[in-house]
Symmetry: D2
């Protein structure tokens, strides 16, 4: 595929772990926009992509503010073209039981995961519908399906994202736009988690590149065989 013919993938929420892996994976065949609130990782990952011959556009933008999203979207269209694949990977994971979770944390977690997904979907869907194609892929978590007691803020936010993904897939699939929620059912092998669990073995964690493969597979499924939810989990982990 020549550069001019390449499609555009936008990854919202690029940090040290999965977001960067997703951007690198899609950069082999897509021009990639990397979006985050802070500059560090998106600049670094964009450099990697460019060194490998790809096209990367790092953008600082807050996924909870409609105006910033609209500006980021306008910049992507101007500099790369219309978005073919939107990956929403935003949000942190607070830990805490009900009584340890303040209303502020509860709301902020919803804002970063659920509201951000909603706002970005509203931003890109009209153009995808006009072209009857495109994909919206969302990073999920075990907490969105089978939560721990310590996910008093995180589980409701991820459940809501899953609910939104189901609404969108039921609404948009028949119109040619693919929506899927990828449930990452295990710890991701990234610096943050390695610091928190220094005794974790390789086989206990999911490789970011393996998760990126799941996103890639979903993004390229034949429309006659689409899927709107996919879980992945380390083979060694009991379930």
């Amino acid at each position: 595929m020549s550069k001019a013919e390449k499609g555009v993938a936008a990854v919202v929420g690029v940090g040290d772990g999965l977001g960067a892996a997703l951007a690198l994976r899609f950069a082999t065949d897509y021009k990639v926009a990397l979006i985050a609130r802070s500059a560090g990782v998106i600049e670094k990952t964009a450099s990697e992509i460019r060194k490998a011959g790809g096209t990367a556009l790092p953008i600082r933008s807050d996924a909870t503010i409609a105006k910033e999203i609209a500006e980021a979207h306008a910049q992507i269209k101007r500099e790369l073209g219309p978005i073919d694949i939107l990956i929403y990977n935003g949000g942190r994971r607070p830990m805490g039981r009900l009584m340890d979770t303040t209303p502020e944390v509860f709301e902020e977690t919803w804002r970063l995961h659920t509201f951000g997904t909603f706002l970005w979907a509203r931003e890109v869907v009209p153009e995808m519908l006009s072209r009857k194609s495109g994909a919206i892929l969302i990073t999920g978590a075990t907490a969105g399906i089978r939560p721990w007691p310590t996910s008093a803020a995180f589980a409701p936010a991820k459940f809501a994202v899953r609910g939104l993904a189901q609404v969108l897939s039921r609404d948009l699939h028949p119109q040619g736009v693919h929506v899927a929620y990828v449930n990452v059912d295990g710890g991701i092998d990234m610096p943050l988690l390695r610091n928190m669990r220094p005794d974790a073995k390789d086989e206990d964690l999911i490789k970011p590149s393996a998760i990126a493969d799941a996103f890639w597979y979903l993004a390229h499924q034949d429309p006659s065989a689409w899927r709107h939810e996919l879980d992945v989990r380390p083979f060694k982990e009991k379930f």
Copy 2:
């Protein structure tokens, strides 16, 4: 049970339909607090309860504002005693696809369903834990499990409530506090819906009293056989 020995049930979100039926059902054996933002229905239902010899306390209170919740709770404790059963039945059901749903409606729906449940749970759980008993029962909807495309705001909010209910049940069950989400999987036979669907037959709709029976059953399950989710649906409806 003598009046003095009766426990206390609080129903948050008492309107014309299910809320009133829940209050009336529990009033046979509990002193009941009826909570809503407007006075009409709670006053009317409280009168019915009193005429039948029960105890009813109508309270105007906004379930999305922590301060108003704390005041309502204090009044209930003062006038009726500590809450044994909290029923969260709050919230409206907006209809609309993604592009018909404004960010304001999306947020407001979350606030009425999800945030309100969270705030009321935070308010009553400490005392329930101190007594190692109590129940929190939440009204759910099909949209929290298998949503329509027109539930772009409602489904994420109800999914979030279900996620919160699962967190709470996993956290609180072993400590003696029962939490359950009742999925009302069908139209409720109430004036609002009859107006919207004038051709609906009796057998197409769920009787509020039948839903109230499900709440009653859950509230009185033996702890050796608790359930945290229960769906009910009209027998005539295909699924």
Copy 3:
């Protein structure tokens, strides 16, 4: 309710544990047929029911042989009347991983759980349909939803029963016949299990009478709010 007006409940699979508890629970309001392959427990439980003033008919019959089922059914109709509630509680629980499970055990387990449910359903459904009423309630297990690796024979059999229950509920509910699968998600407090787990505390096990309450609730749900699956689990058990 006078004796003459009482309905008929038939419990297939009456042993020392849940089956006896189900028979005793329904005997307060129904004439009860108790069915098992061996005489001991059905005779003993029938005596208990009679001493308490109830009506009990113990029948030895193999639930995997259509002819014996037809004979048992004919005897029940003759001596008690048509069956209003059929409870299928048959079958043993073999333990074993794939390579520890012989084809004979695999088949026998299917026969006792799945085939027996199918045969008994075929036997009682025509009459229930002709009266547009009746209930078929089936004892399920965790293995039918979230199996252990050691359930190589038991899980497929219980999954199959759950599938059959879903087929029947989707087929028969609109015709007025209620079908439900009760997932007993935990160890039942009965002599056999107490022997196997001598250190089990009361709070780790489900009381048979509490499971019987779940069956009772389902058998008497208002048709406007039916449910086809219900799980119950000890409050202390983490999930």
Copy 4:
């Protein structure tokens, strides 16, 4: 990959539709054994594979008879080598409600779907475990998750297969053997179905090659991100 290095895939149940597509898909990189009870399609598909430069071994064998399975397995090992990927695609789909389903059809359907999967798994698992690798992939159907009333025999059989797949994945994943159930949630575009539904549009049906892609993806997932169930469905179909 040179021919000598190629792995071995065995497809059990090769008819006109999905089985042939699976064999052709895997033949690009694997030596393929094609197994069915009758000769027609396996010979024809084997010819196609050979013409394209691949290796194909057609074997007539009944998947419900342990002895025939053992013989087929021995022949595959002798002529191609040990099986790396076993695909179980056996079985027909009878239609019928409870009262239209004879005990013979109920048992035969279980035998073709469930018992056959069990027997083939028992045959190949010991060697896969000894090499700590391999995959068992099973064709599922909507009836195994959300059955129609007319699936009185088919749904219990497919539920049972799904239960068995879950047992095997929970047992074997930590030992390095991958097991997955692929839920084909829609009509497959093949001659039989086209005859039954002459008015079906292309977009209503799933392309066999698209389902084969799902099997391929699962067979090659990185072990750090395995999945044991995957549904695929035509994008145009409402759900």
